[in-house]
Symmetry: C2
């Protein structure tokens, strides 16, 4: 009787509180602590005679019907919420059950056995128990002794086991153990060769095998914590860098920022300080936008020819704009001037056409929370502050925002934002329904067609990865079929690494995402024998849709491949040729590259095209919200290990404002 009375009391208390508080609910609010407790009590009572062991695996809101939520919402939310239910998955006597609780009248309204394959979410308690079971299992203890390890420094985790065609299964996990002993980063110290299988419902070890002894990797170099806690990492970023003429030094980076009336912003001699080696190491000799090809898809007599090469025809430098403090660049930005030459040869000042600033968007450089070490709370987080070098070119109607972002991790992220005004065509039509002919783009407003077009932005990237002589490597991820019964698995993928010998080997149409693009220095290896390298990680990809024999495509043939690689040649700078206006396609990268020169272990240049196909929409009218694309150059075995493990200590005394307060 007592439980029932308790139940009734609880229900009365609940009813009162529900009446007084239900109006503050949103029907999609997660279950409150009191609702969760109510669910626990109801379910425990439900299984109390005879008492059964109930293991909870999931409790969450059983959502009201969508139609009810929408009707509640459209009723200005004055109605009482449509329903309030909990959905629980529990294990009782090694079977999964789905229970639905009506929280408003405190009753179980459904209880269903689940008889299919698979098991619910693991809960923490059973994972912990499985680990502890292993740690006290004599054969396991013997295995640890055999490896001369200290059992007190071993931590064990439960790994889900998947399914490999077994007809019958029980709810098991494999327990995999790791070694602390001098590090909190036990994940880097796996104790290989031992497999322990634990049945979670029975909490028993059902299989154990010690197959092979493999060295446990050393603790040295695995720690990611500071000895002292880092207090007050600033979010208010300052200038944070020094400017010595055109040379910028920030954190571990040094680079030269320049301006050219054709290319606009140019980054040169970017190198990064390697704390371990105690010196700057070169990454990129030069990077700039070599061309920006914008073909329109409108064949109207006054439009067909519009296939602009903005860099070679109008000049990206000539089109740079004076950046507006607090709007184009944040408060902490520093500005740089540039000079162009006018028709009569007179130089003209272009004030504030480049800005340089530290940026903190609230992002995280790296982090980890470690739940796995008993009695320890470990959480290490480093905010991501980066340095941005920006220019904006307004080539007629379009505005291009070009950002070179340098990260302490060694990554260079290059971002192009498209904004400004569309090139639109006047038309007789005022509504899409009137249109029965080809109009070459969507209607955006009355009498206004937004012509379809592309933007292909080619970057000339003269990488010098830790020296001038580099090789270009295509790492192709390839599926391998498993033969015979050597493994329960039937496939995996591996990396097929191909060094490009000549230019034709390095022309790549991206898309499938299964080829990694790597530039290595084949003359330098890390201590464990990897070639030092940088990887180009593509973002938005677009290739040409024009026919090969169409005139604009003959002139813009560089778009045929997202990537080309050439040996460095000072004269080969502009991807669509030096004289681009009315060019015939007989100068430029596709022509130079016909020679199919050797590019292995040479001073090489990457030509990477970032592209957009642009079908305009009404939101682009009358001015277009920024649409961005980017790619990233990421160190890949360039450093011996994560280069941002410790607080930065750089070669120069330049202010390192990404840390403060200690």
């Amino acid at each position: 009787m007592l439980p029932k009375l308790k139940n009734l009391l609880f229900f009365l208390v609940f009813l009162i509180s529900a009446v007084f508080s239900s109006s503050s609910y949103h029907p999609l609010d997660p279950l409150t602590p009191s609702e969760l407790n109510q669910t626990q009590t109801l379910i425990n009572n439900y299984f109390s005679s005879p008492p059964q062991n109930v293991s909870f695996h999931y409790v969450g809101l059983d959502e009201p019907e969508k139609s009810h939520v929408l009707s509640w919402q459209s009723s200005s939310r004055n109605q009482q919420i449509p329903s309030r239910r909990a959905f629980a998955i529990v294990r009782v006597n090694s079977r999964s059950r789905e229970i639905i609780v009506n929280l408003l009248n405190n009753s179980i309204i459904s209880d269903k056995f689940y008889n299919g394959y698979g098991y619910p979410l693991l809960n923490y308690a059973e994972q912990l128990a499985a680990g502890n079971l292993t740690l006290s299992y004599p054969p396991f203890i013997a295995s640890i002794r055999r490896r001369n390890l200290n059992l007190k420094e071993v931590v064990c985790l439960s790994f889900t086991v998947g399914w490999y065609g077994e007809i019958k299964s029980s709810r098991v996990v494999k327990v995999m153990c790791y070694y602390l002993n001098g590090t909190v980063n036990f994940y880097m110290r796996p104790i290989e060769g031992i497999a322990t299988t634990v049945d979670l419902d029975r909490m028993k070890i059902v299989a154990f095998r010690d197959r092979v002894v493999t060295p446990v990797p050393k603790a040295e170099g695995t720690n990611y914590r500071f000895n002292s806690s880092v207090q007050g990492l600033v979010k208010q970023v300052g200038p944070g860098f020094t400017l010595d003429g055109h040379v910028v030094r920030w954190a571990n980076w040094e680079l030269h920022v320049s301006f050219d009336m054709r290319a606009g912003l140019m980054i040169s001699l970017a190198s990064i300080y390697d704390q371990e080696k105690g010196k700057y190491r070169s990454v990129m000799y030069r990077g700039f936008i070599s061309e920006l090809f914008v073909p329109y898809m409108d064949l109207t007599e006054e439009w067909y020819y519009r296939t602009f090469f903005d860099v070679g025809e109008y000049g990206f430098g000539l089109s740079t704009v004076t950046l507006e403090p607090l709007k184009d660049c944040p408060e902490n930005a520093t500005f740089m001037d540039g000079y162009i030459t006018s028709q009569d040869g007179t130089s003209a000042l272009m004030p504030n056409i480049i800005c340089i600033f530290e940026s903190y968007a609230g992002d995280i450089m790296w982090r980890h929370t470690e739940f796995g070490i008993p009695g320890q709370e470990i959480q290490e987080v480093r905010p991501e502050v980066s340095l941005v070098v920006r220019m904006v070119a307004a080539v007629g109607n379009y505005d291009y925002i070009v950002d070179w972002e340098f990260k302490e991790s060694g990554s260079i992220k290059v971002k192009v934002g498209l904004t400004g005004l569309l090139l639109v065509r006047g038309t007789i039509y005022t509504n899409k329904d009137q249109i029965r002919e080809e109009v070459y783009g969507p209607i955006l407003a009355e009498n206004t067609i937004g012509a379809n077009h592309d933007h292909f932005i080619n970057f000339n990237l003269d990488l010098d990865v830790d020296g001038v002589a580099n090789s270009f490597i295509k790492n192709k991820l390839q599926t391998v079929r498993v033969l015979g019964n050597t493994s329960p698995r039937r496939s995996y993928w591996r990396v097929n690494s191909q060094t490009a010998k000549t230019e034709s080997d390095a022309r790549i149409q991206l898309g499938s995402g299964t080829t990694e693009l790597l530039v290595v220095n084949p003359n330098k290896k890390t201590r464990v024998g990897n070639f030092v390298g940088y990887r180009l990680v593509p973002g938005v990809i677009a290739g040409p849709l024009l026919s090969d024999d169409d005139y604009p495509q003959i002139r813009g043939k560089f778009t045929k491949y997202n990537m080309w690689v050439t040996p460095y040649n000072k004269a080969e700078k502009w991807v669509a040729g030096l004289y681009t206006d009315q060019s015939h396609g007989d100068d430029g990268l596709p022509i130079w590259s016909l020679r199919n020169r050797n590019i292995e272990n040479k001073d090489i240049v990457l030509w990477y095209t970032l592209g957009f196909h642009h079908v305009p929409c009404q939101e682009d009218f009358p001015i277009m919200p920024t649409l961005s694309g980017s790619f990233e150059l990421r160190p890949t075995n360039f450093f011996e290990h994560n280069p941002v493990l410790k607080p930065s200590q750089y070669a120069t005394d330049s202010a390192n404002l990404s840390e403060s307060g200690q």
Copy 2:
């Protein structure tokens, strides 16, 4: 004699200044104003007897040899810079010439005619002159009168003409004219049907044709300037939003933020205030991570089974971490708690597992600089402040940072950052050169292999674009060949729009970037007749590399397509099935979708998979710098026009901190 004397004097003055200042040069510094003037003077003098008209088209640094720069750099920069030269392209007597100037001894060291195809950069003066020539050309004036336009409100621009197979060419541009008369955004008011061709070298109109009269689009709605100038757009972002229970209101957005012990963060009922319509319009009923599949590519006995489903096996909510102020989230963040249920049914507080903050990274929402209106300086820029809702799940070794970013433009950007610790395997090897067998990943440190693996993150996106009944549209960009001689062009692309009738029509493997993915409300059109819609813009793409018949792939078959669409069904929530641990692949999306249900004009759900193939590198050891992937939901004809044209005025009184100071 006089010019020569002047020349000599200039040279002496220059020589003195060069001696005293050259040490402050970096060899890659752009030309200084005095160097530019020196170049002008030298070239003008060079063409002074007999006097010839010299038009400058490019002047820039003629870079020193790369080897000289590197040698200068490695000499600790104490050497004098290797050389200092200017490269100029000029037009003299309708011919292009390339001139190299030695600035150190003030001489022209090379002058070369360019006899090939194509022409140099256009300069501003000639573009302006071509426009003015057109504006004063009687037939053009007659054409403007014929259209009843006011000539004083017409502005003209020079468009480069490309090349369409002509054997002979002259340096011409086409002049295209626009109408102001009530707007500064003349680009939205093209005067169509008139083609004027100007020879730039002779500065003469060489062709004129007035083919057809088309209405000039109206000025109304095209202006992008504020009437009053906006002062002091804040960069110091504040909380900037209101939290009413779990409902967040920020700028023009309203959304419900929730937490589930399996899914973690859930966004519901996201809707955006439409200033023009004066009401909130629904965008997304629900969005959350439905599964995270991480198969490893290691067939070792203790490894082959590691093919984790982190959401369905370990729980993304169960794995969420308490976010650390100032590190995981910026200073201005607000935190939200969550509750989970333990094994015994007791609820447990998870403090601060969601944070919400305004973010300003220094980005630009939209901008334009207008050079084209004589006598006016127009520059309008809006900084991009967005709202981020974040959670972090540490599923064992890996940390996943999940950001839902809401922009005033109506865009929702969803970003996942991967950081934390790799799962590594112990090995006997200490150097790559020792390895002769398959080890399933690169060596990262002594005795440490980083196992190759994938991350497939599936998002359940129940979009309700301006209402519940939606359709999914594939906009395929397709090349069209031009037949016959109807145009000088031979091709263009157009949009082939396909509405998915049933589920099988909507399964898509992305890659080529030529299909746009659109969700529209087929029952609602904009005023000009477009269906209101939202577009999903993919970022990083990866598909499965495992064989279809491999067990992990049978269970993770949802990865086969980047996109699937289903009719809404409350029971279909978890892409790899409700009971994922040891599942057999007989529940989940690929099974439900076999029914091939009708999805046209229905309540539909998008299932989008964001993927990474991860070949580890040494920089990932012992902790991995964040690697990010994202996708964006962008309004596409959802609004009548750019929704962030004017300073925001929202339905609620909630603080709109993206504007201040007026």
